[in-house]
Symmetry: C2
Subunit: 394 residues, 2 copies
């Protein structure tokens, strides 16, 4: 694109797996005048938020609200259910699975790691075999990622949960980038702890973590001896009974959440999930038609984010720079061992067909600028076909 036709846009096309774009009504809501967090106005707001969160978590349990990133929610899951020295199985399919295990280790858990190759999902049979080796039943908890943001892979949570249930360990689930975008039935699937974050499919800015715990997890808390204060569940539950939080919550984000939960209810979880699947399929088709290689196989492809191998000889940093500067489009780089090898296209939250088509168009132009022989229009055409109602993946 000619330099002279470019605006210095703040509102770039944001194709990253969080923080996601924020809908205008949500932006407006978060600008409401601040209220006292110990007042009847806040109590009414809090009650509405928790009820809405229970709907999307698909749970009857209290959902606790922490002012932190999602990682803070994960920390709460560890420190409220475990004691130093406890055996924990950390099932990892990427960077964020590794982080969850690191976190448990930082608090003194004895973590055994079960890592699956990046780009694949956790195999329930392999997890079953591993847990079967624990004849004494001393593994206290299994850490699982619902949707691995670093590789764009979604785990088969119902099957994995079934395996963990058979063993009897607690199942702690990092659902930060999966919840809402992909099905998750906390109560029906028997998940013990589910952690989510505001800046993902909730469509609000980062700063809030949401955590729900099963009866079993609350019972585990009784004897859990890891130290905790800011992320203590019991304090959160005590204050929740009077519709408050123990410490000053991110009030403006609570306003945003109220509005976002209304948008989510209006669209409906099923339609939201169908939209995410369709966008994923469109992105995968588009990227494939440009001759690029996908990291995740179709059967475990994430509805939130698609990881793509960098074409030979192209630098991820340069690609992202051209996309941002010439084509007003922001994509994510790789993480951890993948930092140079891949790039990632988020299609999470407040994203629709036109967002994704514009992003693919920008990607094509950037790759051609970099000297790659990408066929003109092929990516967009393939994605359009999917969006027009062609095949839909699982």
């Amino acid at each position: 694109m000619e330099g002279t036709t470019n605006l210095s846009r703040e509102d770039k096309i944001l194709l990253i797996p969080g923080p996601t774009p924020v809908p205008t009504p949500v932006l407006r809501a978060q600008s409401r005048p601040i209220i006292n967090h110990r007042s009847p106005e806040f109590h009414a707001l809090f009650e509405e938020l928790i009820a809405g969160l229970q709907e999307v978590f698909r749970t009857q349990q209290e959902v606790l609200l922490f002012t932190s990133s999602g990682t803070g929610g994960l920390e709460s899951a560890i420190v409220n259910t475990l004691s130093p020295g406890d055996r924990v199985l950390g099932v990892s399919i990427g960077t964020f699975g590794d982080r969850f295990a690191d976190l448990a280790e930082a608090y003194g858990a004895q973590v055994e790691r079960l890592n699956f190759p990046h780009g694949t999902a956790a195999d329930p049979e392999v997890v079953r075999e591993r847990l079967a080796q624990d004849r004494q039943g001393t593994v206290r908890a299994v850490l699982l990622t619902h949707n691995e943001t670093s590789t764009g892979v979604i785990n088969d949570l119902p099957a994995l949960s079934q395996v963990v249930r058979e063993h009897g360990a607690l199942l702690l689930v990092d659902a930060i980038s999966g919840l809402i975008a992909a099905p998750l039935e906390m109560d029906a699937w028997g998940l013990d702890v589910v952690v989510a974050g505001s800046q993902k499919a909730f469509m609000i800015p980062p700063g809030l973590a949401f955590v729900a715990a099963s009866e079993r997890a609350w019972q585990a808390r009784e004897s859990a001896r890891m130290p905790r204060f800011y992320f203590d569940w019991e304090a959160a539950r005590k204050y929740a009974a009077r519709r408050e939080t123990p410490f000053t919550p991110a009030v403006s984000l609570c306003f945003a959440l109220q509005e976002a939960l209304q948008l989510i209810r209006a669209e409906g979880l099923e339609r939201i999930q169908a939209r995410h699947r369709r966008l994923r399929d469109a992105v995968r088709a588009g990227v494939g038609a440009m001759g690029l290689e996908l990291v995740a196989a179709e059967e475990c492809a994430s509805p939130s984010v698609t990881a793509v191998y960098m074409p030979e000889g192209v630098s991820s940093k340069e690609l992202r720079q051209i996309l941002s500067q010439r084509y007003q489009t922001v994509i994510a780089g790789g993480r951890g061992q993948f930092v140079r090898e891949i790039f990632r296209l988020g299609h999470l939250g407040w994203v629709d067909g036109m967002t994704v088509l514009s992003g693919l168009l920008a990607l094509e132009m950037a790759l051609r600028d970099l000297g790659l022989a990408v066929p003109a229009g092929a990516g967009v055409a393939a994605a359009r076909e999917v969006l027009a109602g062609g095949k839909e993946g699982g």
Copy 2:
């Protein structure tokens, strides 16, 4: 006021010691489109924020940014400098001093408490005597509150710091409701850790905590064995070197902070502090003229918040209800042991003379509605005199 002349206002007169009112330009800034927190745009923003924070902390040290309430920042101060079993002196002049000590205890510190009567400041001589008893020098840290929000008392931080310096323990300071509103010289006063929160004099919504540590505190971290992950300083410093945070930060609040730091620089710390002192003096004069009794003596009266004893026979809850519903004014109740005995008027952050005069007017009307013989106009008149340039307290 007649019911028919009332609007159902969202923008009430907010006289609470946080979260404070947010200036319109800050509200607008926080609504900017979300950006990638791992992008050059964020790097430039981060650099500007840290430089601005160093200015208000009056420090050359790195200021770390955590997405949490202020309490999260306090937790970081404890877990990064101490080991389980360490002796700690918790100096408390109210609820928030107690909380800081509780926090250290939750992580296994051996906390000795030195409590001063509510409504008074910590006496440096008493602290000196207490520390002098520690002949072996085994007290590792002293916990101090800069400004105690529950009682409206400010501590004499330079004198207290001097005493702690003589002993050699680390000095950890909760400056959440004091920083910016009251003088604080981190480097010049030799404070080892200073913790602040966004929803106070920073004039932005809650959700960010700011923490700076001295060289001594960073050295203490080398051997500190309390567990930590989300609030780990070393991870924060490592990411700060590339102008990022380890975990997704509250991006919209970072936008707000950028704007607020510009407002703070434009007004200047000295003028901000003079404004807060003047507003405090006006509130104290006004409340006194209504015949109410102040909790804090003049020499230790907080520039951020004024605590007032409830008049005999009046319920705090009822007073706050009338103020909010009839007079669109929100004040704070008591905390802890003070929950029924006192009410608190915040004059912190984006608050000016008219805010305070309107609030005093509302308070007078509410008290008269409750049957108290408050002389009409006396409170506002006394406050006006102070605001018009009469005497200014210390």
